[in-house]
């Protein structure tokens, strides 16, 4: 049985095999490729700052930040002001927040029998777009982060404006997603959520009513490579956490049934994304849900939505740390055209760890490699070694339930088929 899944930033086909009325294998097929890595070869490496955001319309900003950090990694040393680092983190956070609202209101609601809430998706994402644009000129598809910092010379009035967009988004969240009557830190168990009003509580209650709370379990193995003032990197196996992980142990390989490539760390499939980040960062509410329901859909859905208020609060704190007197941009001491080197970066994008690696010769791209979050979660393994989302769908009774599990990973087709 083949099911075409649409509205995942493109399409994918799920080829289901059934045994005794249960799914016993799923082959995941992505249907296009755009060859961006090949397109980049032979180009001035700075042009990647313009091309790479176009990998994806919903998380292109993460690709910009990954690109600039990978190029900067080609330098033996390069000075980036604290101000520029904070500004980059701000705009990336705004992108994560808009993504999570869109995913919940566009993708999740219809899976539970509700109509898409287009305006509820649009309003907070427009606010986050305005916050990015105030700093970076526009959203989507700015290239404001450049080697040495950012182009923008923001002012105190810009920061006031950005804070208002954050405040308005917080109000939207509390009015619509979850009517929070206590401090965010006081939410440490799922019961505290279920008794609240709001769209998140409605969906979680529906999951429990349908006895779906343990659907979608996979390996319970998590990894996150990106680090900033909010996220730490590491991996988690069941309840054990390790912080010492290296990009060198990532392997990417083609699979014959799809245009997307598979990705492993130490020859093992891992889940990336908000649930992974929450487990690695020990977020109390998510740890409580995970303790009861492991890596099920309820853990994934709450973890993604729960990043919204956390990032909004944290981003407000970050705004206060900006010293406007610092330079936005420090011209690198060495011209990029004199550099022959390799570089890599890892950032936490909306859907998980995004990795860029490149090789330049006198500032010209020789090789560019992009590994996207959806490649991790949707690696298309074989029966003996299933990918994370494949394993999560095994044993389900029908393809409709499987679609809920599949989309709980927040699939991005365009990123996967870059």
């Amino acid at each position: 049985m083949i099911k075409l899944i649409e509205k995942i930033e493109g399409e994918a086909k799920l080829h289901f095999s059934f045994k005794e009325n249960k799914i016993d294998f799923v082959d995941i097929e992505f249907l296009q490729t755009r060859s961006i890595e090949k397109i980049l070869e032979g180009k001035n490496v700075l042009d990647a700052l313009v091309i790479n955001p176009r990998v994806c319309g919903i998380c292109g900003h993460a690709h910009l930040i990954a690109t600039v950090e990978a190029i900067e990694d080609c330098y033996e040393s390069i000075d980036i002001s604290k101000k520029a680092k904070i500004i980059r983190e701000l705009t990336l956070n705004f992108e994560l927040i808009q993504n999570h609202f869109k995913w919940f209101y566009f993708t999740i609601l219809p899976l539970f029998g509700y109509k898409q809430a287009i305006l509820k998706a649009a309003l907070p994402s427009q606010l986050m777009g305005k916050a990015i644009a105030t700093i970076a000129g526009q959203y989507p598809h700015t290239s404001y982060a450049i080697v040495g910092g950012v182009v923008s010379d923001i002012t105190s009035m810009d920061l006031i404006k950005v804070e208002q967009y954050i405040n308005e988004t917080i109000r939207f969240f509390e009015k619509n997603m979850l009517c929070m009557d206590k401090d965010i830190l006081d939410y440490s168990n799922i019961k505290a959520l279920l008794s609240q009003k709001g769209d998140l509580a409605m969906i979680i209650n529906d999951i429990f009513k349908n006895n779906w709370e343990d659907l979608g379990k996979s390996y319970d193995r998590f990894i996150a490579f990106g680090e900033n003032s909010f996220f730490t990197k590491g991996k988690s196996l069941k309840t054990r956490r390790f912080s010492n992980i290296s990009l060198d142990e990532i392997e990417e390989f083609s699979n014959k049934n799809s245009y997307a490539k598979n990705v492993t760390f130490k020859d093992t499939y891992f889940e990336v994304g908000p649930l992974s980040r929450a487990i690695i960062n020990k977020i109390p509410l998510i740890l409580d849900i995970h303790k009861k329901h492991e890596d099920s859909i309820v853990s994934r859905i709450v973890a993604r939505v729960w990043e919204i208020p956390q990032l909004l609060n944290h981003t407000k704190e970050l705004l206060r740390q900006i010293d406007l007197k610092e330079p936005s941009y420090i011209k690198p001491k060495k011209d990029i055209s004199k550099i022959t080197s390799t570089g890599s970066s890892a950032v936490e994008a909306a859907r998980g760890s995004l990795i860029h690696k490149l090789n330049i010769e006198n500032g010209i791209i020789k090789k560019y490699d992009i590994i996207t979050p959806t490649q991790w979660n949707l690696s298309n393994g074989i029966r003996k070694k299933l990918g994370v989302s494949q394993k999560a769908m095994i044993g389900l009774k029908d393809e409709k339930i499987a679609e809920i599990v599949f989309k709980s990973f927040d699939v991005c087709s365009v990123c996967t088929t870059h």
């Binding site: 700075l46 042009d47 305005k130 644009a133 526009q138």
Partner: protein, 293 residues
């Protein structure tokens, strides 16, 4: 109940950036009262993609996003077949974005004969020549949401739009990105000491800004209603044009110290004369930082 105009949005080889940019349209609630999608890459439509490819569903306007190639399949149907079918049903066609209009970034991908609907970069194609009369192009990477929404309203209201040689509404594309840029004075008086990370200075002279020779209204109708790339300090990269992306996007190509690409319609001699005159003067206000005492 009032009849809504029916739209079919087909995405080919793309990043979905136009779909997400369109979500920033500020009057979306009203828009959804006036238009409905029979299928769209994000919004729930009245029909699934499988129904669109297996049937002939009525639509008023066909919207095409992404570069197109005869090799591409959409839900197992050849994309060109799909476009032919729905362009014969629809009374108007709109190409959304630079990819669908000119081929864009992905014209360098590995698909055979990849291009825009009517243009491969600047070259007019014979494919689909029979439907060219009903096409309007909205270029941009991504499109500005207002350009698209207002064009759809103009079609709905049967307003005859003046189009340029690439079928783009002159209302938006007769301007250049330079029009309305807050850095214009630095350009006019040839203050060529721009540094990234500064409010001051014009990026045309050294940092590759293409605003004076790129059609569009980024500085007239602001992005996300608040800003533009050049206002923020990023050079315009010419994303609305047929040859986007050019190469070496952060540096100005020069010949004997003179920018190789001059503002539209300005003869080299005129440019040099003006540059000579303005260079003879020092304007202290523009040499200083804006917030200096």
């Amino acid at each position: 109940m009032k009849q809504k105009m029916k739209l079919l949005w087909i995405t080919s080889l793309a990043c979905n950036g136009n779909s997400h940019s369109f979500l920033n349209y500020p009057h979306l609630e009203q828009f959804l009262e006036d238009f409905e999608f029979i299928n769209h890459p994000l919004f729930e439509g009245t029909h699934t993609l499988e129904e669109i490819v297996s049937k002939h569903i009525y639509c008023d306007i066909l919207l095409i996003e992404g570069s197109i190639s005869p090799e591409i399949l959409k839900a197992d149907l050849n994309l060109f077949e799909l476009i032919k079918r729905y362009s014969s049903i629809a009374s108007k066609i709109v190409t959304i974005g630079t990819c669908a209009t000119f081929g864009g970034i992905f014209k360098e991908s590995e698909y055979e004969d990849i291009s825009g609907l009517h243009f491969n970069a600047k070259n007019l194609l014979q494919n689909f020549a029979d439907i060219r009369y009903k096409t309007i192009s909205i270029s941009g990477c991504p499109i500005h949401p207002e350009h698209l929404a207002n064009t759809l309203y103009a079609i709905k209201d049967k307003i005859l739009l003046q189009l340029d040689e690439y079928l783009r509404p002159k209302e938006y594309f007769a301007y250049t990105i330079h029009n309305g840029c807050v850095r214009n004075e630095y350009f006019e008086y040839k203050i060529d000491n721009h540094q990234f990370g500064k409010k001051e200075g014009c990026m045309f002279y050294d940092h590759g800004c293409q605003a004076p020779y790129t059609h569009g209204s980024c500085n007239k109708i602001l992005w996300n209603e608040v800003n533009s790339k050049t206002r923020a300090g990023q050079p315009c990269q010419g994303c609305t044009e047929a040859d986007f992306p050019k190469a070496n996007l952060f540096e100005t190509k020069k010949n004997m110290g003179i920018p190789s690409f001059l503002p539209f319609g300005v003869p080299k001699r005129t440019y040099l004369t003006l540059a000579g005159v303005t260079k003879a003067f020092t304007i202290n206000r523009l040499e200083k930082e804006l917030f200096d005492d």
